[in-house]
Symmetry: C2
Subunit: 216 residues, 2 copies
């Protein structure tokens, strides 16, 4: 799997290196911690375990031949990831920040404590919706959709921290970091959001209605 090295070279801190976790024992279903930036699984690894996020956030991405990274999804608490079509992963999963994960072996057991079909269908519906959004919406609209997704993960509060970098957001929305920054600026100067804090990663939703209107 030559793409693994590209992935590490391009996207992981040099110090992190190839620290993708070795395979967990299928029958040991104890939760475990992953540090920020650490790999959870990588392309080509055997896919006989799925994960539920207990705390933290995870990015799942694929690498294209030219080395470009495309983030398929971010996962937060309660959400499942790692379910695969074939016996091997065709994507990468990494912790965005410190995470607690619950693994579930899907090898052979006739009855699982989770509904795999439900997870697969939820993922499928999400992937199809995302396809529409990414292909048909403008840069500003995509960023608005992203912002609304993030806001919806923090119900009851109108201010939160983005755990991911602008580069992550760009690779998630199919844009460049520059376009993401420009869209952030537009949202800010039009009074829809306010940005502050470390690396402008703290967001306050000022005009939720205008945001919703943009992200439709």
């Amino acid at each position: 799997m030559t793409t693994l090295n590209q992935a590490v070279d391009r996207h992981l801190p040099a110090s992190t290196g190839m620290d993708f976790m070795e395979q967990r024992k299928p029958t040991s279903s104890t939760a475990f911690k992953v540090r920020a930036g650490q790999g959870i699984y990588c392309e080509g690894q055997r896919a006989n375990v799925i994960y539920q996020v207990q705390s933290g956030a995870v990015r799942v991405y694929r690498l294209m031949q030219n080395g470009q990274r495309h983030i398929l999804s971010f996962y937060g608490p309660e959400e499942w990831f790692g379910l695969q079509d074939g016996p091997f992963h065709d994507d990468f999963a990494e912790a965005i920040c410190d995470c607690q994960l619950q693994p579930f072996s899907i090898g052979g057991l006739p009855t699982l404590p989770v509904n795999l079909l439900g997870i697969a269908l939820t993922s499928l519906a999400y992937a199809n919706s995302r396809q529409l959004m990414i292909v048909r919406q403008s840069a500003l609209e995509r960023v608005a959709v992203f912002m609304k997704e993030m806001a919806d993960r923090h119900p009851g509060v109108n201010e939160f921290e983005l755990v991911m970098s602008r580069a992550d957001i760009a690779d998630y929305l199919g844009l460049t970091v520059e376009s993401v920054a420009r869209s952030f600026t537009k949202l800010r100067t039009s009074g829809i959001i306010r940005l502050h804090g470390r690396g402008q990663r703290y967001v306050r939703i000022v005009n939720a209605d205008a945001l919703a209107a943009l992200s439709m």
Copy 2:
């Protein structure tokens, strides 16, 4: 479901009208025919039946708020469609040409003659691959990918008919008909394909290697 009327207005021949099929009886698993252009199911309909194409071709699409149509997938012989996350369809299925379809009820039965999880995971993997392709590739590359997909459905021959219109292809690739036509022209003038027949829908792959190189 107001979008149904939009769909019919925009995309079906006027004579066809609202001819989406009434629900089949779950237990009757007899194959049936659908005429070209006819609807198979529509958004909002109950989703308790999945279909396997026996002959012909089907398009499955969603409609956006603004009325734009996005084709999620084309389905040919042997392929399954109609499996849904919730109890209701969020998309439309129509016959592109005359079709023979095999329905399978998925209501309640503990054991089905088909592997739903497998179908869901295959669809998911396909949707994710398509996301990368559509978001990251240029117009020409997308058309090349499409052409290769179509060519791969006709193994052993290097000439075949496109059953779908340029508009279908555009809505599938996230382009306009004009961009599709221009990309077809580029492929033709660079000696990769040749076009002829009714509405330039017959394709001969002249340089399969060049096509594969473009579509990677």
